[in-house]
Amino acid sequence: MEPKEIDWERLNLIIDKNKGEKWGLIPLLQEVQETFGYVPPESIDLIASALGLFPSQVQGVVTFYSGFALKPKGKYVLRVCQGTACYVKGGRSILRMMKKETGLEVNETSPDYQFTLETVACLGACFLAPTMMVNRAYFGKLSPAKVTSVLAQYKKDEVER
């Protein structure tokens, strides 16, 4: 898997915006996460010194929130619900299918950075169980056919580009 190139210029721009403001850590990290798809570990020291924090503190925040990742994630993060309701309604099979379709294990990212497969404990949409999310979009009442078509959308998207 190719390591991701970091666009240092862009990173520095984001960091500079928040320089000297300790409280700006979370918005800053959000922007980095959104721009790069992850918080590059190499950026931790830079962020810390710009904000007057210890690098260990920055890392603490990054690893605490599930919204931040230190490893690059795919363009599409697939979150398959394994909460109680979904589990009862066959969420386990959905996950098995997703693994087969994408060729990924849980918490794995495809070499082309297209997909990351994750599980989640309840998306708060149990009435639609079994459920999953692709980035911010919800998909409910999943069936094998529906899973294939959802995935196809995102794969197709890839072909288009």
């Binding site: 570990p41 931790i44 210890f54 260990s56 503190q57 890392q59 603490g60 690893t63 605490f64 599930s66």
Partner: protein, 898 residues
């Protein structure tokens, strides 16, 4: 606080100080406003179990063990984070509290690994102790050990995070107390743990191995690393660290007769609080090495052979007296110790002065700038000497000049970093980037040895900005107008040229200081440089001008490298002063001692450390007594020193370890380390700290004062002191500064010798401004185009004699690489792992190299103490600067790639 007037405030509530009444376990107690329920309970002798609470740290509330029940509402609250409030009524051990507390501990135990039973923390583990108190054996829960990283690659600490209860004390100690930021919580839930950035091992993080976190950890998650089984301490004995001039209070954990562990003492108002540094915490393992001297030795036919005390002391006494009789008092000299106690140094110089009639007495403090400080001491007439480090945290602004405190005096650096964290402006004046730079408001990167120009430039700028403290200069000083005129004439362009500091930077610094009373922290970079005395004068001028004297958090904080550097001077182990720093040429002072000692004392100053070597070289000095110093390693040009001392007819070395110097001795007397004897050290603040032995000396070794006491008797002294108390009694009587030394336990402060109201009340003698002096611009010579800066690394102290014997420090492999700027690195075509030879006019060293991207081109940093302190080869033995300023901080060199 206003003294309490009424006895019935317990019933009625305090209206004077806002004290709060509350009921704990049905008992009415009183506590100051702002106290937590836990503090109120503790103050009143009610014990509440805690894991995450520490009085030195901000309240946190992580473990919930300190639960109490509110009698009124039935609520359960964590007492450490609940402020005490009037009319509150809590129960600390109600059935509900106990039930919940037990459950918390059961859950913790269920998460604990099986290795608990063989944990080195043993019965000192707070978790285990609390579990026992609550009667928890089997948890009755499904065990779910939380296996996490086990780290023990470094020689100092073991981290077994499976035993971590996430109390966060280590993290808070690291952030709040030592401000290293090496660790913080990482991850969340079951996964969470204290981690370094990128989860690197500690030695690759910003951890300094101060061990502060370790001493606070309530469980066995953090433990000192020992290479062999040393046993769990069976007693703890308070003592004082014998390494640097901070003088941290320690608690030594002793098993059988061996010191196996060191922690910060739990005493109140200690200089170090709950912190220590890597030396104090871990390097004490040198105490137990096989190279300790355990019996007296005498050289017979060129070979050292064991001797009885009687024989060794007889030989020492007879030979010294014979040499003195034959060649006169100027043929004998006494080198005392900035590491030995006050009592020992007093006795030492008394033997020299009274029994051998010589003033040729000095101590290792010469190497760390004592001679440069003497004129300043004279200028203030001994006033304004006592200065508590705690004051630094109250300073309005701080200037750190020539002090790499994160390496040399780590505990001082903690206070500085804490002050900076609270927003105190901190200016670092140093040619190199130091560990403080990242915390500083600004750094002035000046050229080496140009501090004098810089300080004068700064003073001139402040005068131009009319930022002097006129009230202060009017009341306490004389000669300000002339000083001001001289400053106004100063050519600031030259300042810029000589120092290499831009006018903008200088102006920014002046703005930080404008209108403030400033604390100046002065280190070896100034004290050991060739313009040391002049720079100190200029700094003191700046103090006078800004009114930075007479209160906490202002004035010159002169740092001391060695633990009893200040005390050795106070006790008269110097060639030109009697005990109490009373000048030798002051006939009143001399007469006082002559009467007390019933001996005549010569008014002529004796040889200082360097002149001792010089006279030995010339053959004029014939006998030398060395106590607790290792001149063959600590002095410049060690080979030359060795040759000089080998010429002596007779040399006695009293020490605790086999050293380069004991190798050439005729008689070796085994002394005791600080943990093995009683005595007192005076730290850089002027705090005289007493201690008692924690363990007995090894083998036949004896406390140094006892050796001296026996020797004095053999040399003809009518009687022995026989006890520390009697020794202290004599000191207290003759040395007003040490009037408190009879106290004998805890700590007392040096009584400022004279004019002590100087800067505190009007009416004391005024202090004059010293003339504004200047240095010449120097060109670099072609044959030695680079400038070496010598400096310390925190794992070693001084020449590294003791720390070099520490197994842990040795194992922590330091190659002592010399550091070069990126420009020079490229210019010399260096690559990682390359070695270079540095050659000065006096000698050379061969070392590995490292690129330091923060170093200015043309500078080379050479760490001292490592490689048998070979860095000393580079500098010349005889003073370069003025007589008072040896100038051993830098030297010109050339570099060859090997």
């Amino acid at each position: 606080m206003i003294p309490c007037l009424f006895q019935d405030c317990l019933a009625k509530g305090c209206f004077l100080n806002g004290h709060i009444n509350l009921s704990i376990d049905g008992k009415t107690v009183i506590c100051p406003p702002g106290a937590s329920v836990l503090e109120a309970a503790e103050e009143n002798g009610i014990k509440i179990p805690t894991l995450c609470h520490h009085s030195g740290l901000e309240p946190f509330g992580a473990c919930r063990l300190c639960l109490v029940e509110d009698e009124n509402t039935g609520r359960l609250m964590a007492s450490c984070v609940t402020p005490a409030a009037p009319d509150m009524a809590v129960l600390t051990a109600s059935p509900r509290v106990i039930k919940h507390r037990r459950n918390i501990v059961r859950l913790m135990m269920a998460e604990h690994p099986e290795s608990c039973i063989v944990c080195s923390k043993g019965n000192r583990c707070q978790l285990r102790r609390i579990a026992a108190q609550l009667g928890i054996g089997e948890t009755g829960l499904y065990p779910m050990p939380n296996y996490k990283a086990y780290e023990q690659a470094n020689p100092f600490m073991v981290r077994d995070l499976s035993k971590c209860v996430l109390c966060g004390k280590c993290i808070r100690a690291d952030h709040e107390l030592v401000v290293a930021g090496a660790i913080d919580y990482s991850h969340r839930g079951f996964e969470s743990r204290p981690a370094t950035v990128h989860e690197l091992p500690l030695e690759l993080s910003s951890c300094t191995f101060c061990g502060t976190c370790l001493s606070m950890c309530p469980t066995g998650a953090l433990a000192p690393k020992n290479n062999m089984f040393v046993g769990t301490p069976d007693r703890e004995i308070p003592t004082v660290c014998g390494f640097c001039g901070v003088g941290c209070s320690l608690s030594m954990g002793v098993f059988s007769d061996t010191v196996v562990e060191v922690n910060p003492s739990r005493g109140k108002n200690t200089v170090n609080g709950s912190t220590l540094c890597v030396r104090g915490h871990f390097a004490h393992d040198f105490l137990n090495v096989s190279q300790r001297l355990t019996r007296p030795l005498i050289r017979r036919d060129g070979q050292m052979s064991p001797a009885s005390w009687d024989e060794a002391l007889d030989t020492a006494a007879t030979r010294f007296l014979a040499v003195q009789k034959e060649s006169g008092p100027s043929s004998v000299a006494f080198l005392g110790s900035s590491k030995c106690t006050n009592e020992e140094n007093y006795l030492f110089q008394k033997i020299a002065r009274v029994l051998l009639k010589t003033n040729s007495v000095d101590n290792g403090g010469y190497l760390s700038g004592r001679s440069a400080l003497a004129p300043l001491y004279k200028r203030t007439n001994g006033g304004d000497r006592v200065r508590s480090l705690a004051g630094l945290e109250k300073a309005e602004a701080i200037v750190v000049i020539g002090a790499d405190v994160t390496e040399t005096l780590p505990v001082v650096s903690y206070g500085l970093k804490r002050a900076a964290q609270k927003g105190t402006p901190l200016i670092v004046i140093d040619p190199r980037q130091t560990g403080l730079s990242a915390h500083a408001s600004m750094r002035l990167p000046l050229k080496p040895q140009t501090d004098l120009e810089l300080i004068n430039g700064l003073s001139a700028l402040l005068v131009r900005k009319k930022a002097q403290n006129a009230i202060f200069t009017d009341h306490f000083t004389k000669g300000f107008e002339a000083f001001k005129e001289a400053l106004l004439k100063l050519d600031l362009e030259k300042t810029g040229r000589v120092t290499g500091v831009t006018p903008e930077a200088l102006d920014e610094a002046a703005e930080y200081l404008r209108g403030k009373s400033v604390a100046f922290v002065v280190g070896g970079g100034v004290l050991e440089q060739r313009y040391a005395a002049l720079t100190l004068d200029a700094l003191f001028n700046l103090c006078l001008m800004t009114g930075s004297l007479g209160h906490a958090g202002a004035g010159l904080y002169v740092l001391a490298q060695e633990n009893n550097q200040a005390g050795a001077w106070d006790m008269g182990t110097v060639p030109d002063a009697l005990p109490g720093r009373q000048p030798l040429n002051d006939s009143l002072a001399r007469e006082k001692f002559e009467r007390a000692w019933q001996a005549s004392i010569s008014p002529d100053r004796g040889l200082d450390l360097i002149r001792m070597i010089e006279e030995a070289e010339k053959g004029n000095l014939k006998a030398l007594y060395v106590m607790g110093e290792n001149p063959l390693r600590a002095l410049p040009q060690p080979d030359r020193v060795k040759r000089a001392l080998e010429k002596l007819d007779f040399i006695v070395v009293q020490d605790i370890l086999k050293t380069e110097t004991t190798e050439i001795a005729d008689v070796v007397l085994p002394g005791a380390a600080f943990s093995e004897k009683g005595g007192s050290f005076t730290n850089l603040e002027g705090r005289i700290q007493f201690f008692n032995p924690a363990v007995p000396p090894p083998g036949e070794a004896k406390p140094d004062w006892e050796i001296l006491d026996l020797l004095a008797r053999k040399m003809g002294s009518p009687r022995r002191f026989g006890s520390l108390e009697r020794l202290r009694g004599e000191i207290a009587g003759l040395v007003p500064m040490y009037a408190g030394i009879n106290e004998g336990s805890g700590a007392v402060w040096v009584v400022e010798a004279s004019d002590k109201e100087l800067f505190k009340n009007e009416g004391g003698a005024r202090v004059s401004f010293a003339p504004v002096s200047s240095i010449e611009e120097e060109g670099q010579s072609d044959s030695y185009p680079l400038t070496v800066i010598l400096g310390s690394v925190r794992f070693h102290l001084g020449s590294g004699t003791r720390t070099g014997y520490s197994g842990r420090v040795r194992e922590f492999h330091q190659n002592g690489a010399v550091e070069l700027s990126p420009q020079d690195w490229t210019a010399f075509g260096l690559q990682a792992g390359d070695s270079v030879k540095l050659t000065s006019a006096h000698g050379s060293v061969v070392r590995e190299t490292a690129k330091n991207s923060a170093l200015t081109q043309g500078l080379v940093f050479v760490p001292e103490a490592v490689h048998n302190n070979d860095a000393r080869n580079l500098i010349g033995l005889f003073p370069l600067g003025q007589p008072d300023s040896p100038g051993w901080k830098t030297c010109p060199v050339r570099l060859e790639k090997l």
